[in-house]
Amino acid sequence: MQTHHLTLYLLVLVLIVGMVIIALGGGLFGQQQFWLLQWQHQALAHLCHQAADRSFWIGGQPMAVCSRCLGVYSGFAFGWMLLPLAGFWKAYFYRSWLLKKILFATAVINLIDIIGNFAAFWENTLTSRLVLGGLLGIAAAVLFSGVFFNRKKESTGDHYGKLTTTGI
């Protein structure tokens, strides 16, 4: 399997995994400090409302981000980790415009869910927000399938003997 821009891939992997760990909050590490003052909450204070009743709890403390934000971060991290597998199995044959449409659709669905819940048309839950956020994160990561990892094979066609992605 061929790789391309591996450094950038690894950099983003480290950064997004770091973001997920920070987002899990101080409860993961058993921090004794009141959760509002923990550095994880301070770091992400400008990114998320951090409402305790809209966040998952871990170790008796709310996470540093709400369930939807947790879904976005963890979904993107999960999708990013799947990119090598997508490259290996050549699961990058979907046209780029379709992946863009899927990303746009998941963003719109999240927006509708936020507005619909706020306008009291329906009531979403921690899990539903996590799932919708996760879909958005995965859709964003999948956009890069076939970019960093790609399985080339020897051409038997026009470029006989050369390594190409299609083998043609």
Partner: protein
């Protein structure tokens, strides 16, 4: 079926040897300025909504709803910057690395603009932070919980609001976090709007 992603992978250096790409600083500063101002204005609206709200004792108020959009807006500066760059230089392909760099710098720019504006606002309304603290305390006091726990929560919230108001804290957390998120949205922007990635 050959598609754009496969072509990009096969020919990542096809633009090699061309003259240097034009500067991206105009796109970075434009997007940074726009999103920095938007983030600042939305945080200002949130702050005054808290100040002028009646104490309800609820953990989630309508003002926090505005905060949701404020953070979403702040994270998409990188995407706007790459879109602007792609529009300005239609014939210039945007590599993923360049999209990431444009996004990161935009995140830094957004943080600096919003921090500077926050400090300038201190001259306009020097009592804003204190009013926020007073309003938050009133809301916490209306909560139905044991007094000891309530007092701990009030102390922590006041300390948190005061420390968040300092330039050092805003830059310490704002620069890396905004930088990382906009780095990712910058890459996404390069993928969506760029003529070619890879």
């Amino acid at each position: 079926m050959e598609n754009s992603q496969q072509r990009e992978f096969d020919n990542p250096q096809r633009d090699a040897g061309h003259q240097p790409d034009p500067s991206y600083w105009m796109s970075v500063t434009t997007a940074g300025l726009i999103f920095g101002i938007i983030a600042f204005v939305l945080s200002l609206i949130t702050s005054y909504a808290v100040i002028n709200s009646e104490p309800t004792g609820s953990l989630f108020s309508p003002s926090q709803f505005i905060g949701i959009f404020a953070c979403l807006v702040g994270a998409f500066g990188g995407m706007l910057a790459t879109w602007h760059y792609a529009r300005e230089y239609e014939d210039i392909p945007i590599k993923l690395g360049k999209g990431a760099l444009i996004g990161f710098l935009t995140g830094v720019c957004i943080t600096i603009v919003s921090v500077v504006l926050s400090q300038v606002w201190q001259f306009v309304d020097p009592d804003m932070t204190q009013k926020m603290i007073d309003s938050t305390i009133a809301n916490l006091e209306a909560m139905d919980m044991p007094d000891a726990q309530k007092q701990q929560m009030i102390d922590a919230t006041v300390e948190g609001l005061r420390s968040n108001d300092s330039i050092g804290m805003q830059l310490l957390w704002g620069l890396p976090i905004n930088g990382i998120l906009n780095l990712i949205t910058g890459m996404i922007g390069a993928k969506i709007f760029g003529k070619q990635e890879g």
